[in-house]
């Protein structure tokens, strides 16, 4: 939902970044306002995932130039956990497993870390239990998953649903979904997308990073950006995704003379 007077949540200017000394991002520019859903599409190796990890603060990615402001603050002044507590959320392509730590306990740790940083009340296990039981409906999750170890033995689809559950718990102002649709069957895709749609509000924003147009049938973006070789080469509406699906990426490259 585009509103001209909405507040700017994320402002990326001429961002460059490297991994192990190899430049991957070569001048990213992107502005995301409250209420908007953006999609970044691009071929493999275009730097989509790097961009999402740089935003979230992965230590292996070195920012070499440019700036990112998040909610008015210099994002690079914050470490990964501070970004999370400030309202930035990254749904991982490959969520990790944490044996021996129940999903409920982990979600409560995350919730309370953010609550404490923002001067809100932390929840004890009983209070959190009421809170989480409501949230799991967003991703149609069986309450039994709350007692299981985080992601341990979860199917690919269950892990992705768990990511969206974490998003529901943390209520970020910007959620970056990194290839959340990859490896999902059609039912899981529907559930995950429904979850994201329920969580999208006028005061927050979503950035979908995806390889395929399929996801965008379920989550309708306001903007589609085409990323090639570390930069956004073209921006359009949701119809651009369909065009990419039928024509591939080469014409975008050629169109701007890359």
């Amino acid at each position: 939902m585009i509103a001209a007077d909405a507040r700017v949540i994320l402002e990326v200017q001429n961002l460059t970044a490297s991994v192990n000394g190899v430049p991957i991002l070569k001048g990213m520019n992107l502005t995301i306002k409250a209420g908007e859903i953006h999609a970044i599409m691009g071929p493999n190796g275009s730097g989509k995932s790097t961009f999402s990890k740089v935003l979230a603060g992965h230590p292996a990615y070195e920012v070499t130039g440019g700036s990112v402001r998040f909610e008015g603050k210099d994002l690079f002044e914050l470490n990964a956990e501070e970004r999370a507590r400030a309202g930035l959320f990254l749904a991982f392509q490959y969520p990790i497993e944490i044996p021996g730590v129940s999903n409920a306990a982990f979600l409560r740790l995350a919730y309370n870390a953010k609550a404490a940083a923002n001067g809100q009340d932390e929840l004890d296990p009983l209070e959190f239990d009421d809170f989480i039981r409501e949230k799991i409906q967003v991703v149609e999750m069986d309450p039994a998953f709350l007692d299981r170890s985080v992601n341990e033995g979860f199917s690919g689809g269950e892990k992705k649903r768990n990511e969206i559950l974490q998003m529901a718990v943390l209520e970020p102002s910007l959620a970056v979904l990194d290839e959340t649709d990859s490896g999902l069957d059609i039912d899981a895709l529907r559930i995950v997308s429904n979850g994201v749609n329920q969580l999208t509000k006028p005061d927050n924003a979503v950035l979908l990073v995806t390889h395929y147009q399929r996801l965008l049938n379920y989550i309708q973006p306001d903007y589609v950006h085409v990323m090639v070789e570390g930069r956004i080469l073209k921006t359009g509406g949701k119809e651009l995704a369909l065009e990419l699906e039928s024509r591939g990426y080469d014409w975008v490259r050629e169109g701007v003379g890359v």
């Binding site: 979230a56 999370a84 959320f89 990790i96 044996p99 021996g100 982990f106 995350a110 870390a113 974490q166």
Partner: protein, 437 residues
Amino acid sequence: MTGVAVAKAADPFIQGLLTGHETLPAHGEVVTRLRTEAAEKARRMGLPTPRDEEWRFTNLAPMKAIAFTPAPVTLLNAPNLERWTLPEAAGHRIVFVNGVFAPEWSDLEGLPAGVTVRPIAQGTNAQDALVEAHLGRHARFDSSVFAALNTAFVGAGAVVAIARHTTCKAPIHLLFVTVGGTEARALYPRVLVVAEPLSSATIVQQYVSLNDGVCFTDAVTEVAVAEDARLQHVTLQDESRSSYHIAHTAVSLGRNAVYGSQAITLGAALSRHDLAVRQDGEGIDCTLQGLAFLADQQLADTHSTLDHATPHGTSRQLHKTILGDRSRAVFNGKILVRQGSQQTDSQQSSRNLLLSEGARVDAKPQLEIFADDVKCAHGATVGQLEPDEVFYLQSRGLSESAARSLLTYAFAAEVIDAIPVPTLRDRLKEEIMGRLV
């Protein structure tokens, strides 16, 4: 084999440890005979050195510089043991303070019929069939100076017996408390567990310190699990960082027995656990799990021997270490599949997590297979916390230290979760998470 035969004069360190051995209170013929034999053996042995293959990575020299004397047989006024008692084991607890049975701290009121938990020594004249049949039969003392020393002082310690067809639902808690004094003290706790056919029980054997006085615990545990019996055996060594703890556990398993062991090492400056399991019947199912969680300059050495002496045996062994600061761990896991022990199914895994650059582990799996129709696998890994995993948790708002402690706990969880006593699991979780945050 541990220890070296010394032809000439007795080792003064051993001699010092044996001081007072002659004046132990008498406890029946079997005990007296064992003590005399074992003291004889001990006198002819010296402390092992890194030249002994079995002690290559564990140097006892720092211990040798300390003059240990047998701990005095005096009980303390009201030591507060509450932090170690387990609600699950109410009525099933026997406590030894400096090796002496402490009836006022024990609580054996809840034992079901068929379950015996008592001190080994029961007076001079008692006819003691259990002791006669088992004491000194499973843990041999002719090749280990520490087993010999323990046996030379045998008497203090616990007998646990589960009668035929008896199921003891609540865990049986054996709590050994050391109390240091101005002088360095040596203690010789002994445990004998006899699970008769078709019985089932859980035992928690715990070693703790009441203070930081220097103590040397020389422990020997003998376990006999008869045919079709099940025993779950948890050992937790959490003595003070100024302690030395050397333990032998010898386990004999009968046909179709099920034995599970979780051996947790948290304490002591230097500790060693020799675990010898012998499968003496067909169809035995044996699970051995170990976990050492160390910091500072602690050293923990586990030497295990799993002897598949009979066919159709299954064994699963997992040994994990978590090493911080400049701590060190040693794991030597020997699996022996004897000729004729066909259809043996054995897996061994050693996994080690180094939390700092100064930490070190020496892991050595050792498979000796003399049968030709068996399934055996082993592996060892050494690693650090994955940066991607730490990042994942940080991206959920957890601080880096909280992320690391959670992942460290997750590494340990596989062993801790197998402990069938919730209070103990929770305490271990708190210990590991608390020490790191």
